[in-house]
Structures are given as C-alpha cells and as structure tokens.
Amino acid sequence: MQHTFSIRSTGRAAAGVLALGALLAVSQPQEAAASTTANTKLLNVVTVSYKDASNNNTFSANASTQVTVNLVKAGLNAIAAPTGPTGPWGLSCLPAVNTPSGGTITTLYAMVANANGSDTYNFGLSAASGTNTNGALATNVTSHFQFLKYDGTADGAQDAGTHTFASGIGVGLATGTSDTLLFPGGSLDSNTFAPNKIVVVTYLDGKKQAFLVSGVSGGSAATITGNNTGGAYSNLASTAGETQGQLKLAALPTTAIDGLNVGANAAPDFDTHAVDFSVPVAELALVQVSVTASVAQTNTDATVNFTLAGSTQGPTPVTATVACTDGTWVAPQLTISKLVRNVSKSGSFVGNLGTASADPNDTLEYQVTVTNTGGDANKVAVTDAVPAYTTLVAGSTYGTSAATPTGSSIFAQVTKNGGTAINIDMGTSAVESANVAAGDATSTAAKSPINFYLGTSASTSAGGTVKAGETFVIIYQVKVN
C-alpha cells in the first residue's frame, strides 16, 4: 500500500492531507499477508529532553516498551513439483499416468509455507476409487504419503500426521555477503530452519528460487531493564543491543528426485538479485503420494481420486489441499489369434475364418499369437488341443518347411516379443524359461491337450505375468493322418 500525496504548498493543505490519509487508513481492508516475522520484538524507546527555567541546563529521561509480533497462521501453498528454476509455481495436479492393474503410481508435490513464522500443520491423505463410464471401480486401493529430503531420502515417518514448516520474514542482507539473510533478533526458529532444508526466496521481481539452508543462528532480541511495563514511572530504561538472526543459504544441489527442478546449482546472489523482504522466506517441503490399486473388471480401466490435505492447527484451521486423479489403472486386455498354413505345400498362413487345404501326410503349422494391449495380465495360460485327424509332431523344424521329425521331444516353440525361440518339451515339463513360458503336451494323439503357460514367473501349472504390450507367439506342427 503506497500513499501518494499531492501538495498545494500551504500549511493548511498539510493538515488536510493528514486528514485524508487518516480516512484512507480506515477504509482500506486489513492486509491478509503479514510482513513482519512472528516473534519479532518491537522495541520502542521514547526520550524526553528538556531544560530548566534558565534554559541553560539540559536534562533527559527515557522509557521503553516492547511488544511481540504474533504468528499469523496461513494455509500452505500446494504446488506440483516445480519443473523450472523460477516461480511462482501454480497449484496443479500432475498429469495422470497409466499403470497396470495392481501397480503403484507415485506423484511428487511441493508445499510451501506462507505464514509469518514457523508453524506445525496436520496432514492427511484420503484415496478412493473413481467411477469410469462403465461403472468400474478400482479395488485394493492403498495410499501413502512421505515427506522427502532434497536428496530423495525420507524425511520423517511415512504418513506422518504433522510436519513443521520453517518460515520467517527477513529484514536485510548481512553486510558483505551475498548468501546470508538477516532476521529480527530472536525471531528465527533455528530448530525448524535446520541445515539441508529447502527454502524458497522471493525476489523483488516476483521470481522465486529454492535454496538449501547451510547455516542458521537465531540471534537475540534487545533486552531491556528498567521501565518496560507501561505502569510506573521510572527514570531510566536501558537496552542491550539486538543480535540479528542469520540464515545462510547455499545452492540446491542437483537433486536425485525425478521431475524436480528448482534451480539446481544456482548459488545465492542476493547482493545483485534483490530479495523481497515483505514476504516469508519459507520452507518448501516435498511430499510423495503413492497409490496402489487393482482393476476389478477385465477390459475396463479404473481411476483413483486422492486428496492430500495440510491444515493449520487450532480452532479455525486453514486447509490447503491437492485433490487429483492419480492416473489410470489399466485393465489387462489380451487378444489371441490362431493361424494355420500347410508347410508341405508352402502355403501361407490363413486366419481363423480361412481354410487351408491339406492331403494326408501333409504337415500343418499352427501359429498362436497372444498380445496384451491393456495393462499387465497375470496367470496367462493358453489351452489348446491337437486337432482331430492329426498327430502332433515332435522335433519339427518350425516355420519353414515340412516337418522332418528328429525324434527329439520338442513339440512347440514360443517367442516373446520376437526374441529367441524357446523350445517346449513333451510331457509334464519343467519350466523352459522362467521369463517366457512353460508348456506341456502329454500325447501327440489327436485331441490331446496342449498347454502353454506364458509370461514372467510362469510355472509348470500356471501362467505368469504378460506385461502391457508384450506379444507371445506359439508355433507347433501337426501331421494329417
């Protein structure tokens, strides 16, 4: 608030201006934001000097009073983790991401203190399934939040119910330094402004930058002896000097936290980039929210909505929330196709609805393709059978020509994502490849069952996990009886 006065040059105008100023002072709304840090001691020393009747001898007396500035609680400013070195950063949710059913989505937020002094806030996280257009719900929803240090390590316990944010309003730059801010003596809370905390400094040009606390000293307020009560007259109040608090800041090192960019490695240069001392130098706390959920229905995705709330303590809490949709849990969606060709006649593959002609003793090659176009699928098994009037060929040379049985027990090959073919043996086999497939065929006779267990951690009796986007191709050959 800046009063601007025009002046008309006479003493009477001056009185008028003062009256106008008083009106302005009454009509303006009280500013919400505090510009003086909590626990500042406002010292007022008043002096009277006077002379005796002879006008020769001078005397003086003084008195003082000191009042303390209160903490004005203020809500946190919750922001998506900054991705650029300069603020202000706006409140926003992070882009929702997709994850397979059963997976965990983690999102990183930053919360910046706003009060004129350090204060403790209550924290809570709630998460519930969203409803998509098909009415599908996520199940097994669990959610946690964790405060992180600048290097990505945990700061306090998981789901900590409270967090104390450091905050204070500086009054100047320490002489001869470019990195040390001064605070009213005794006002700086040296416990909350602990080394390695991230704090945000606001410049006069409105930009914000994050730094790391490298040193702190609280200082001390002026001490007064003598008349400080406003009660009795006494002749002299003496004050001992104030020692201002000091907050030394350093560049925020390149952080190990993905997606966080708050001006890493920019050293403080407050002597050239002027700091705005009307707003708090405030802690920036990093909060990681992680939500795990599953999809109840196949082929139908589900979302989870969560709300992270940080509230001031006391009778009328001020709450800052981030309420976002934490991505989509994608349901597994497998497609399967079965093609056949007559390798004896060098025929090409035809699909389910096509036909391949064959004479007795011709060899047919079947190609079964399983593709996951959705989220991760578990326990993926393909059950097939040797076609009627045919005999399963063990020991084939797959893919190119008619079978020349080698007498080996290999009856099929499985490839994952076009990789190396894995041979599948006859019988109740062992796991051919823990990360690709197992399979068994108990007999080569027509209508005998053929089983394939696909995916990571496939066993001899159950399928493993076929991840999103993976494709498995199974090839086996039969001879027409």
Binding site: F5, V46, V48, S49, A61, A63
Partner: protein
C-alpha cells in the same frame, strides 16, 4: 591516608545536598502499548476499550501512549519528546496527538518537519514523503509546569 579519604567523601556529600536544594525541573516519562479491545455486553452493545497489550498480530494497530509529568520544583522548558517509529511498523497518518508541535523525520531523526514539508529528491523530482517512510516522530512542548502532567500518543500498524 584513611582519615583523609573519609574527609573527601564527606565533602562530596555536602556538595550533593547543596545541589538538591536548588529548584529544578524533573520530567519523567513512561510509554504504554495498547490495543483496542471490543467487548460485547449482554444486551449486545459493543464497546471499545483500550487495554495494555504485549502481543500484536501483523496488521494490528499499536496505540503508543507516552505519559509525562514534571515532579520537579521548577517548570521544564523546551521539552522534546522524540520516538523512533519501531522497525516493522508503519505510522498511521493523522494518528499523532496534536500536543505542542508535532513533526516527523524521514532520515532517522537527523531532521524533523511537518508532513507536507518532508520532501526528498528522486530522479530530479521533489517528492513528498509518504507516512510509510517516516522514521521518527517528535513533539516539542514549550513548557511543562512543575507538578503538571500530560500525554502524547500515536499509532502504528504492524507490517
């Protein structure tokens, strides 16, 4: 040696007593910080009462009241009550009591003037200082008669 020292002390005591016997002014001051407290009576009527206060929130107004009295046996003349505006506060325009002659400083108390005459040069232009820029306040009271008392007051807002 010891005997001589005693004599000197006695002599000094005599001198001090003699000084006290002369008529002299003795002005004492005290300062109070008060805030307006609104109380609501049972019948719903509100009344504002000034109370001594130790704690102020930013945005609140501190009423500083300086009380003075002359307990001496002679009038005090040219009494100057000067008070720096505390750091972290802003003077509220028009709040200074019109006792004696009120003037303000914008240079830390080196010079004082009426508000309209508080000017400074900026980019070659003469500007009148705004109340945010006041650093000190001063009252000049020509005479405080022996036995008299009075008060001056002003208000600041906590930034």
């Amino acid at each position: 040696m010891l005997k001589q020292a005693k004599i000197v002390i006695l002599a000094m005591a005599v001198v001090l007593m003699a000084t006290a016997a002369f008529a002299a002014p003795k002005v004492e001051i005290k300062i109070r910080a008060e805030k307006a407290k609104i109380t609501v009576a049972k019948d719903g009527t509100k009344s504002t009462k000034m109370v001594l206060a130790k704690n102020f929130a930013p945005g609140e107004v501190i009423h500083y009241i300086v009380l003075y009295r002359n307990t001496g046996s002679e009038d005090a003349t040219n009494a100057v009550i000067s008070d720096p505006i505390p750091q972290g506060t802003v003077y509220i325009p028009g709040s200074a009591s019109e006792t004696g002659e009120v003037s303000f400083s914008i240079d830390g108390g080196k010079s004082f003037n009426r508000p309209a005459l508080l000017t400074y040069q900026t980019r070659g232009e003469k500007r009148v200082a705004s109340p945010e820029e006041y650093t000190n306040i001063r009252w000049v009271i020509n005479r405080i008669p022996a036995g008299a008392q009075g008060k001056v007051s002003f208000q600041v807002k906590v930034k």
